[in-house]
C-alpha cells in the first residue's frame, strides 16, 4: 500500500462537494476511502484516480444500497442492490446499467438461447472417432445453467476430444452437442461471444507480446474487457508485457486464463486449467472459479485431479477409454473415493493384526504398508489404534487408483 499516500486524511472534494476520508494519491482519492455527500449518500470502498473503482458499498440518500463492483465511478460487474423497501436483487451491471439478475443467468434467460433449452451445455449420444479407432463413444450429459461440472479422466481418455466437439473444431460422427441451444458445429461462431475457452495445449502467437495477444483476442471478440483484464492480471500476478515466446509454462497458462475470462462470458469450457500453475496460483484459480459460480456462470472443466474437481464442482463425469462411466454429485464421488495411506508400523506382529482386521492392504516394504480406505474410516482408525504406528502419510494416487470402482483393477496394474 506504499504506493498510496498516507491515510486516512479528510479532504473536501471540490467537484462533488462531499467529505472524503481515506487514502490519496496526487491529492485525489486512490486506494481505500469513505465519502459522505451533503445529501446523505455514502460510499465506502476502493477508489482509483478520484472515482469509486473496485469493490465498495454505496448507500443512497433514499435508503437504497448497492454492494459490489465499480468501474470508474459506475456500477459495473457483479453486485447486490437493495431497494429502500427491502427487495434485493443480485445481478450484473454494465457501465451503471442493470443487465440481468443472477437468477436470470442461472435460468439461462440472460444470454441468447436458440432453442430455449433449460441446460447450458447439452451433449447427446455424441460419438467421434479418429482414424486409429480411438475417440469418444455415445457420450451423454448436460450441464445446467449456473452449474460447475467436472470432466474427469486420465490422459488420453477423450476429454479433449469431447471439448473439440463442443468448440466446433470437429464434427460429431453421430449425436450432437449444443451450448445455449446453439449447435456446436453449425452455429460455432454464435456461441463464442458468451463462451470462455481455455485450450489444453498452450499455443499462442509466439512473436507477439502478451498484451498484443490479449488486444488481438479482444478485438476479434469486439470486446476488449479492459477492466476485467486488469483485475485478472493483478490477481494472478501476471505481467503480460513480455514476449510470449519467452514466457514460462506457468506464465503461458496465466495468459490462457486471462484470455478465457476477460470478456466475462456466461459459459466457460476449461481444459485442464490448473496445469502448469504452482499450488498458490491453483488456489487463486479455485477462488476465481468459486466466484464465477457465485455469479451464476456455467463451467465445464476437465481435470485428471479429483481433489481440484471436488473443491470446485457440483457434479462430475468420469470418462474411461472414450466412454462415460459415471455422472455423479461430487459428494457421492468423494465417498466412493479410495484413498491410500502409507502406514509405518513399529512391530512385526501389527501386520498380522491389520490383516486379520480385514483392511485392504497393498504394497509392503520393510515395515511400511499401504492401506486402502474407501469410506470405512472408523474401522481404519480403530484398527490402527491397537497398533504401534510410527507414521502415516497419504500416498499420491492416479485417478484410476482413486476410482478403482469405475476403472477396474486392470487399469491400475
Amino acid at each position: 500500500m506504499s504506493q498510496y499516500g498516507q491515510g486516512p486524511e479528510t479532504v473536501r472534494i471540490p467537484w462533488v462537494g462531499g467529505k472524503y476520508s481515506g487514502q490519496l494519491k496526487n491529492n485525489v482519492p486512490h486506494g481505500r476511502g469513505k465519502l459522505l455527500m451533503p445529501d446523505g449518500t455514502k460510499y465506502d470502498g476502493e477508489w482509483q484516480e478520484g472515482k469509486p473503482h473496485g469493490r465498495g458499498i454505496i448507500i443512497y440518500a433514499n435508503g437504497a444500497a448497492y454492494k459490489g463492483e465499480f468501474y470508474e465511478g459506475k456500477k459495473h460487474g457483479y453486485g447486490k442492490y437493495a431497494q429502500p423497501k427491502g427487495k434485493t436483487i443480485k445481478g450484473r451491471w454494465d457501465q451503471g446499467k442493470f443487465l440481468h439478475s443472477i437468477d436470470e443467468l442461472q435460468k439461462g434467460a440472460a444470454v441468447p438461447n436458440k432453442t430455449g433449452k433449460k441446460e447450458a451445455i447439452c451433449i447427446s449420444t455424441l460419438t467421434f472417432t479418429y482414424s486409429n479407432g480411438k475417440g469418444i463413444f455415445d457420450i451423454n450429459f448436460n450441464v445446467d445453467h449456473g452449474e460447475v461440472f467436472g470432466f474427469l479422466g486420465p490422459n488420453g481418455a477423450g476429454k479433449t476430444t469431447a471439448i473439440r466437439n463442443l468448440l466446433g473444431f470437429t464434427k460429431p460422427k453421430s449425436g450432437s452437442c449444443t451450448i445455449n441451444g446453439f449447435d456446436c458445429w453449425d452455429d460455432a461462431a454464435k456461441i463464442q461471444s458468451e463462451l470462455g475457452y481455455l485450450p489444453g495445449e498452450m499455443a499462442f502467437f509466439d512473436e507477439m507480446s502478451g498484451t498484443q495477444f490479449l488486444n488481438l483476442i479482444g478485438d476479434l471478440r469486439g470486446k476488449r474487457g479492459n477492466s476485467r483484464r486488469r483485475d485478472l492480471t493483478k490477481r494472478f500476478e501476471f505481467d503480460p508485457t513480455g514476449k510470449i515466446r519467452r514466457m514460462s509454462k506457468g506464465m503461458k497458462q496465466k495468459l490462457g486464463i486471462v484470455t478465457a475470462f476477460m470478456h466475462d462470458p456466461a459459459v466457460y469450457i476449461l481444459d485442464e486449467p490448473t496445469s502448469g500453475l504452482d499450488p498458490l496460483m491453483q488456489n487463486i484459480f479455485v477462488e476465481l472459479i468459486l466466484e464465477e459460480k457465485e455469479r451464476g456462470k456455467t463451467i465445464l472443466m476437465s481435470s485428471h485431479n479429483f481433489e481440484e474437481t471436488y473443491r470446485t464442482c457440483d457434479r462430475a463425469g468420469i470418462i474411461r477409454e472414450g466412454r462415460l462411466v459415471a455422472v455423479e454429485d461430487v459428494h457421492s464421488l468423494k465417498s466412493s473415493q479410495r484413498k491410500a495411506y502409507l502406514v509405518t508400523l513399529g512391530r512385526k506382529e501389527d501386520l498380522n493384526h491389520l490383516r486379520s482386521a480385514g483392511l485392504e492392504i497393498g504394497q509392503i516394504s520393510k515395515n511400511t504398508v499401504e492401506i486402502y480406505v474407501s469410506g470405512n474410516y472408523d474401522h481404519f482408525i480403530a484398527t490402527l489404534a491397537r497398533c504401534n504406528v510410527l507414521g502415516i502419510e497419504v500416498a499420491s494416487q492416479s485417478l484410476e487408483q482413486v476410482f478403482l470402482k469405475y476403472y477396474g483393477q486392470e487399469a491400475v496394474l
Binding site: K171, A188, A189, Q192, S193, P199, L216, I217, L220, R221
Partner: protein, 266 residues
C-alpha cells in the same frame, strides 16, 4: 474479412515481405545496371561462349537487343519466378497450416468469427501481399530504368510483362494456399504446397534445354510466361491471365471451403 486479424497478420509478416522485396530490388538494380546499349553485344557473346545447355536452363536462350528484352531475358526468366515462389511457400504456410499445427488457430476460432471469415482474411492477405510485392517491384523497375537509362524502356511492353507475372504468381500462390488449408500438419502442407510449384520450376528449367524437351511445357505453369515472346509482342498474355485467374479462383475457393468444413484437431 476481419480487420483486427488482418492487422495482426500484417504486423507479424511484413518483415518477410520486406526481405523479399529487398532481394527483388537488388537483382533488379543489378540487372538494369548491367545493361549497356553498347555492350549488349559483349554480354550476348559471353552468353554464347558458355555451355549452351546451362544457360538455356536458366532461360537465357535468346540474345537481347533492347532494355526491355534484356530485362525480360535476365530477370523475368529466372529471378521473378524463384523468389516470389519461395515467398508464397513461406507465407502460405505461416498464414494457415502453422496456426493449425501449433494450435494457435484455436484462439482465432474461439472468437465470434466464422471459419469462413477467418480463412478469407488470411486468403486476402496472401493474395494482396503477393500482388503488392510485384506491383512495387514493377514500379521500382520502371523508376530504376528511367533513372539509369532515360527513355530507353519500352514501358507498355514492360507493364504487360509484369501484369502477366502477377497473374501467374497469384496462380502459384493459390497452390500454396490451398495445400496450407487442407492439412493438419505443416510438414504435409509444405510438401505439397512447396513441392508442386518447385516441380513446375524444375520442369521449366528442363524444358528450356533444347527443342526436344518442348513437350514438357504441358506439365508446368511457368511455360505460360514466355517473357521474351511477350515483350516482343509475339505472344499475348490473354491465355496466361485467363488460365491463371481460373486456377486462382478455383484453388482459393476450394481452400476456403475445405478449411471451413473439415475437422481441426486443435
Amino acid at each position: 474479412m476481419n480487420f483486427s486479424l488482418l492487422k495482426a497478420t500484417a504486423k507479424s509478416s511484413w518483415i518477410i515481405f520486406l526481405i523479399f522485396f529487398a532481394i527483388l530490388l537488388m537483382y533488379m538494380s543489378v540487372m538494369i545496371g548491367m545493361y549497356d546499349p553498347d555492350s549488349v553485344e559483349a554480354m550476348n557473346q559471353f552468353i554464347d561462349s558458355m555451355p549452351q545447355g546451362m544457360m538455356e536452363a536458366f532461360g537465357y536462350s535468346d540474345t537481347a537487343t533492347s532494355l526491355v528484352t534484356f530485362i525480360a531475358l535476365y530477370y523475368y526468366g529466372f529471378i521473378i519466378i524463384i523468389f516470389p515462389l519461395i515467398y508464397c511457400i513461406i507465407l502460405a504456410n505461416r498464414l494457415v497450416a502453422a496456426h493449425v499445427d501449433r494450435g494457435s488457430m484455436a484462439y482465432l476460432l474461439a472468437s465470434p468469427n466464422t471459419r469462413v471469415k477467418i480463412i478469407t482474411t488470411q486468403a486476402f492477405y496472401m493474395a494482396a501481399s503477393v500482388t503488392l510485392l510485384l506491383i512495387i517491384n514493377t514500379g521500382s523497375g520502371l523508376a530504376l530504368s528511367e533513372a539509369m537509362f532515360p527513355g530507353e524502356m519500352d514501358i507498355s511492353a514492360f507493364l504487360k510483362l509484369n501484369l502477366g507475372t502477377i497473374f501467374l504468381t497469384l496462380a502459384i500462390s493459390s497452390i500454396c494456399f490451398f495445400s496450407s488449408c487442407i492439412f493438419n500438419e505443416a510438414k504435409y502442407s509444405l510438401a505439397l504446397g512447396g513441392g508442386i510449384p518447385i516441380l513446375f520450376f524444375v520442369i521449366n528449367m528442363l524444358r528450356n534445354i533444347g527443342d526436344s524437351n518442348q513437350w514438357l511445357k504441358y506439365f508446368t505453369l511457368y511455360s505460360l510466361l514466355d517473357a521474351n515472346a511477350i515483350v516482343t509482342g509475339e505472344q499475348s498474355i490473354i491465355t496466361l491471365c485467363l488460365v491463371s485467374a481460373a486456377i486462382f479462383l478455383a484453388l482459393y475457393g476450394a481452400g476456403v471451403i475445405i478449411f471451413s468444413r473439415r475437422n481441426l484437431y486443435l
